[in-house]
């Protein structure tokens, strides 16, 4: 775990730089929880999480000589993970326009409930709500998706998002603003369609 204090990260990095494979395996095991959490949060469609995690670790080892220690090593790795996920999200085809017909019965019920009711969604519909959020976020640009996921789903602060992504606070706020505006438009369109 990245927050495991018993792990000697500087020593391990030094050994990895000397091409010690045992140290490299220890480093992968240590950072895996951090990387897999990012991968699962931003996993593009049709990409296996293990493949993406492996790609991230390969990039980490390739660039490890460039790590100067300006930021903590886990932050540096999380930025590689975020960039890799964004690259994959960009590469995948953009989804066509969001339509009611594309939703499952549960997702349509949840959407109808949040648009028309003032009450909260029932707890047994949480999974459908989660799926619906994923589908709505798919309509945003990869960078905007990432900010909204971190901000709203994972409830991270602007400072934490800056640490993870390497973007400054203003950029994070701008992306969040842009994403919310797009989501608002999406909801308004859906509401009009639902009424008609």
């Amino acid at each position: 775990m990245p927050d495991d204090e018993s792990f000697d990260l500087p020593g391990c990095l030094e050994r990895v730089r000397r091409r010690d494979q045992a140290a490299a395996r220890e480093l992968v095991d240590h950072l895996y929880p951090l990387v897999i959490r990012i991968v699962r949060s931003h996993l593009p469609r049709r990409v296996l999480e293990e493949d993406l995690a492996q790609e991230i670790f390969m990039k980490m080892f390739t660039r490890i000589e460039q790590f100067q220690g300006a930021v903590p090593f886990p932050h540096w790795v999380s930025r590689i993970a975020v960039t890799t996920c964004i690259d994959h999200l960009r590469a995948q085809k953009r989804r066509p326009e969001f339509r009611w017909a594309d939703l499952s019965e549960g997702e349509a019920d949840v959407l109808d409930a949040v648009i028309t009711n003032e009450n909260d969604v029932a707890p047994d519909e949480a999974m459908a709500a989660h799926e619906l959020v994923q589908k709505l976020l798919d309509q945003l640009k990869p960078e905007d998706q990432l900010v909204i996921r971190l901000l709203d789903l994972e409830q991270k602060t602007i400072a934490e998002i800056s640490e993870i992504t390497g973007w400054n606070g203003s950029l994070v706020k701008v992306r969040a603003f842009r994403a919310r505006r797009k989501l608002r438009k999406l909801f308004e369109t859906l509401e009009r369609k639902e009424r008609s």
Partner: protein
């Protein structure tokens, strides 16, 4: 906050109730596989021989050119002025046919 924003907030609040997947530990063999791929892709630093071999070829070529240039006058003197005179070409077919020029 308008209606759409409130709808989004209700939706996201419901979505947050989904428990996060476990899996804080790398699957068996993942680290070995990832490291093997990374180390295979990452080329080790070139050996001392590799570092100097290409330079040595360049230096050798330069020395060869310098050798030719510095000895050019001697090489030029050793070649006869009339190159055609130095070669007597006798065509065997001409000899047989009696058409050879022996002059």
């Amino acid at each position: 906050m308008n209606r759409s924003d409130m709808a989004w907030q209700r939706l996201i609040k419901a979505a947050r109730q989904v428990p996060r997947e476990p899996g804080a530990v790398a699957p068996h063999g993942f680290a070995t596989r990832a490291v093997a791929h990374a180390f295979a892709a990452k080329r080790p630093a070139p050996s001392l021989f590799e570092q100097f071999a290409l330079r040595a070829v360049g230096v050798a070529c330069l020395l060869a050119v310098l050798g030719v240039v510095s000895n050019y006058t001697m090489l030029a003197q050793s070649v006869p002025t009339h190159v055609a005179d130095s070669f007597v070409t006798l065509d065997p077919a001409s000899i047989v046919l009696g058409e050879a020029d022996y002059e």
